[in-house]
């Protein structure tokens, strides 16, 4: 049983943790109420919107739940308690997420109580496969662990650039990893999917850019693992992140999902950059997200060879003309009908590993896109500081970089696949983010994505001096997430269980 109207209302409040504060007495409610319970009728029209989405709370008290209610059984054991915000002015129930509680572990609750926590946007509980997926942000992690609390400070748009470009970005990778065959790969927690990761990444991009979310006029979400066959991830992102002007419960933003295997997101970079540059458009910013809970069949099944490489995560980029950190200098995209990797509708896992994998697919398209772009922009290999390619494994991007004539110092810094696995739509964007994390002003980055089916988008980006200023705003850099002391390693069985999710 599932009631869409109830889901709609619970998500509307719970995803963003919306509430109201009485403008007269200051009492706060986790509820969008029109008047204050204390002040009564005189408070009509004086209630102020608040939300706890970017705030940090405090875990007041907690207990262990080891026999959850039916809908939560897939979470197994978890810590549940009461979280307060604003010095106790508002209290909400919440469970700790991203924790795997061991079978026989003695738990001392006082270790958890009193610590600061950050709300996380997650799946709420299990439902039937045909139901609407329930989500909520009454899931929390400790602020002093993997995911720190970061304030979202809106910065007024300042300098306008001639050429549009990236104004901010965010990379979200969870704390779980599986270590196999010299590679570490990111693993979602059981309540995560490509929708929750997209929201997390978008949130981090807003924090990094300082862009007012109401000025984002379009959001594109590229994925090949949307848990819905029909229903966009982008609409959830728009609603939770309050993109565009909010009018009642509708956001004044265009939101669309795109699909082209692993280049579903990079393909839209040029669309986002063009959109913000259209003279008659009122759209100041556009957001592009690549998100994937990269799918692979179990190891002994057809297509199971991918199971050694898949990761999980999302990257979000905000494009605009103000306060740009990397200008889009140019692009070249190419496409051919090459069936090297596909997933039929209704099938849980993609097919892969046939005749076209490798040379006729990945190498041919990336080479073509990169070469053509360099030709057009009249660039030589030496003019480029960093080269970023799609990363299905470690060998492919290295091989294609060498073929194009790049040296190790140009391509090695972007190769992140050994730390996170192949994050599909987020793969080359993650490589790009790792370069933007370290690049100096006035450096040129060439990125060439690859999407099976098949095609490649090559972009040339030139960094500006604002890249240094904005860097301070983001604690969750690629390196931070790769080398974090709070990483949690899981075995193969746990990895498969977490990946399948709730």
């Amino acid at each position: 049983m599932s009631s869409e109207p109830i889901e709609r209302r619970v998500s509307y409040l719970g995803d963003r943790l919306r509430g109201r504060r009485c403008g007269i007495c200051g009492k706060e409610y986790f509820e969008v109420r029109d008047y204050c319970g204390v002040c009564g009728r005189k408070s009509f029209g004086k209630m102020v919107d608040i939300d706890l989405f970017y705030e940090k709370g405090k875990l007041e008290i907690c207990t262990l739940i080891n026999e959850p209610t039916n809908k939560f059984t897939k979470l197994g054991k978890y810590i549940y308690g009461i979280v307060s915000f604003h010095n106790g002015k508002i209290r909400v129930p919440g469970r700790l997420t991203d924790q795997i509680t061991k079978e026989d572990e003695e738990i001392d609750f006082s270790v958890f109580e009193g610590r600061e926590v950050v709300p996380r946007f997650r799946r709420r509980y299990s439902v039937d496969k045909s139901d609407v997926i329930p989500t909520i942000s009454l899931a929390f992690t400790f602020a002093d662990e993997y995911y720190p609390h970061q304030e979202y400070n809106v910065v007024k748009p300042n300098k306008e650039y001639e050429t549009p470009g990236i104004v901010g970005y965010g990379v979200y990778i969870p704390r779980f990893r599986i270590k196999e065959g010299g590679m570490e790969r990111s693993v979602p927690f059981i309540d995560e999917d490509s929708i929750t990761a997209a929201v997390e990444a978008g949130k981090l991009a807003l924090i990094h850019s300082g862009v007012d979310s109401t000025l984002v006029g379009k959001v594109y979400v590229g994925s090949e693992s949307n848990p819905y066959a029909v229903k966009p991830i982008a609409s959830k992102v728009a609603q939770v992140l309050k993109l565009g002007e909010e009018d009642e419960d509708v956001q004044g933003v265009d939101a669309v999902d795109t699909e082209f295997a692993c280049k579903a997101a990079t393909s839209m970079f040029k669309d986002a950059a063009s959109l913000v540059n259209y003279p008659k458009s009122s759209i100041r910013y556009a957001m592009v997200i690549g998100t994937d809970n990269s799918q692979a069949a179990p190891r002994d099944c057809p297509g199971g060879e991918l199971d050694l490489f898949v990761g999980f995560g999302a990257c979000a980029y905000i494009f605009g003309k103000n306060d740009v950190i990397a200008e889009v200098e140019g692009w070249y995209s190419c496409t051919s009908d090459t069936p090297d990797f596909w997933r039929r509708d209704g099938q849980p896992y993609p097919m892969h590993g046939g005749r076209f994998t490798g040379e006729p697919a990945y190498f041919k398209h990336i080479r073509k896109a990169a070469k053509k772009l360099m030709e057009r922009l009249n660039l030589k290999v030496e003019d480029i500081n960093y080269f970023v390619a799609h990363q299905p494994n470690v060998q492919f991007p290295m091989k294609v970089a060498k073929e194009l004539g790049f040296k190790e110092e140009q391509y090695l810094p972007s190769i992140q696949v050994a730390k996170f696995g192949n994050t599909y739509s987020g793969s080359s964007p993650l490589g790009l983010a790792s370069i933007l994390d370290i690049a100096k002003p006035d450096e040129r980055i060439l990125i060439a994505s690859y999407g099976s089916g098949a095609g490649s988008d090559a972009y040339s980006l030139v960094t500006t001096n604002q890249i240094l200023e904005k860097r301070k705003r983001q604690k969750l850099t690629v390196k931070y997430q790769a080398e974090n002391p709070f990483l949690s390693y899981v075995d193969y069985t746990t990895y498969r269980r977490l990946k399948v999710g709730m």
Binding site: F30, N66, N70, Y80, I82, P93, E113, L138
Partner: protein
């Protein structure tokens, strides 16, 4: 005052699992017992006040009034509310208003018919936002205990004593239930069993700290004072009846260590009855968990805030059948409480009233309170949800 509500007869079923019986069968059984006791005929009834917490969910039954009409061939006004106390509250009001003179109050629940989903239903009804965040019906009790320990700074030896006291509540209630033929669990348990269950669960409270899920029904006949003598020469009067309400969302309440609703309800009930707290000798508390029994002793005012566990601990070192609080005796949950008697939500309050009724009339048999003087007044407290609603009734054989 001729309109004072008086209980003239009570009846109930055994609590436990009744998979072989339809819900209607249970209420029939309880009603027949009550009607036999007072020799009442169906045609005497002017109205029926029924309660079930969630038959529409557990048994897909709606309009339970219609079932009862078919069963009794009565066409009098009937209303269904959620708890026995709520049905009784409405019945008292109607009698006091002079609208009716003889009514049936009944409660019924059939929880084991939906045993596999009952915890989800309970939690969702009790506190939906906590449910969405992952709470279980048990977790709120544990959080309340955590909050209590922190607020009153209980640690070390005292913490151990508090934990033992909570275990003793369960042991004591099980002991009482061995003398209650209607109880779900008529067997003794030990403090070790309670503590081991906690250890096994790796939690502050374990299996033996919680009331079970149960099926069962209870009924009573309520009349106006003037009509009572038609049926019995030993009516028990409802001297005080009160209800208070609090937020649904437990975390949003200001005080996480007590139930505000109970504190308000007892005050109003005492005022209405015109007695003072310690005129009460026997009390039935709503021990959905051992924590709730402890907290309730404080909410009702029998113990100081943060100190009930001390009296419980001291009383249970060598348990004599009552709690000794500041030198005064308080007989508590003589039927075994929700823990051992059972907790079929809609019928539970009826079993509580049943017990105090029997105790005040001196008809509780083996369970009869061994008090120094005749019990004058008894008190019943019932909660709906996790302290969202609190009902307090003060019963007495005589009235001032």
């Amino acid at each position: 005052m001729g309109n004072r509500p008086a209980i003239v007869a009570v009846g109930r079923t055994k609590f436990g699992e009744h998979y072989e019986k339809e819900p209607e069968k249970l209420i029939e059984e309880a009603w027949l017992k009550a009607s036999q006791e007072a020799d009442i005929e169906r045609r005497d009834l002017e109205a029926c006040y029924l309660s079930d917490y969630f038959l529409p969910i557990t048994n897909k039954l709606g309009l339970e009034e219609g079932f009862l009409s078919e069963l009794t061939e009565l066409h009098v006004p009937m209303e269904v509310t959620r708890s026995f106390s709520s049905a009784l509250f409405n019945a008292c009001n109607a009698i006091q208003a002079g609208r009716y003179n003889v009514v049936l109050v009944g409660g019924i629940e059939k929880m084991t018919d939906r045993w596999d989903k009952i915890r989800d239903d309970l939690m969702l009804l009790e506190d939906p936002w906590s449910y969405y965040a992952g709470c279980t019906p048990e977790a709120n009790h544990e959080l309340m205990l955590r909050a209590y320990i922190k607020k009153y700074g209980i640690s070390g030896d005292n913490l151990e004593k508090l934990n033992t006291a909570l275990a003793q509540i369960s042991v004591k209630n099980h002991l009482h239930a061995t003398k209650n033929e209607y109880a779900q669990y008529q067997r003794k348990i030990t403090v070790e069993q309670v503590l081991n269950a906690r250890k096994e669960a790796r939690k502050p409270l374990g299996l033996y700290d919680y009331a079970p899920i149960s099926d069962g029904a209870s009924a009573l006949i309520l009349t106006s004072e003037d009509f009572a003598e038609k049926f019995t020469d030993k009516p028990v009067y409802i001297l005080g009846s009160s209800l208070a309400t609090d937020y649904l969302t437990f975390p949003a309440r200001e005080d996480l260590t007590h139930f505000l609703a109970s504190k308000i309800a007892i005050k109003n009930a005492l005022k209405m009855a015109g007695i003072s707290l310690w005129d009460i000798g026997v009390v039935e508390l709503y021990d959905q968990s051992t924590v709730m029994e402890m907290i309730s002793l404080e909410d009702l005012g029998f113990c100081e805030h943060g100190k009930a566990w001390q009296s419980i601990y001291a009383s249970c070192q060598d348990y004599k059948g009552y709690y000794e609080i500041d030198g005064k005796k308080l007989f508590t949950n003589l039927n075994g409480g929700l823990k051992a008697d059972g907790n079929p939500l809609g019928a539970t309050g009826g079993a509580q009233i049943f017990e105090v009724f029997k105790q005040l009339r001196g008809e509780a048999g083996e369970r009869q309170a061994k008090s120094d003087e005749n019990l004058k007044y008894g008190c019943v407290m019932e909660l709906e949800g996790f302290g969202t609603k609190s009902y307090v009734y003060i019963l007495g054989r005589n009235h001032k």
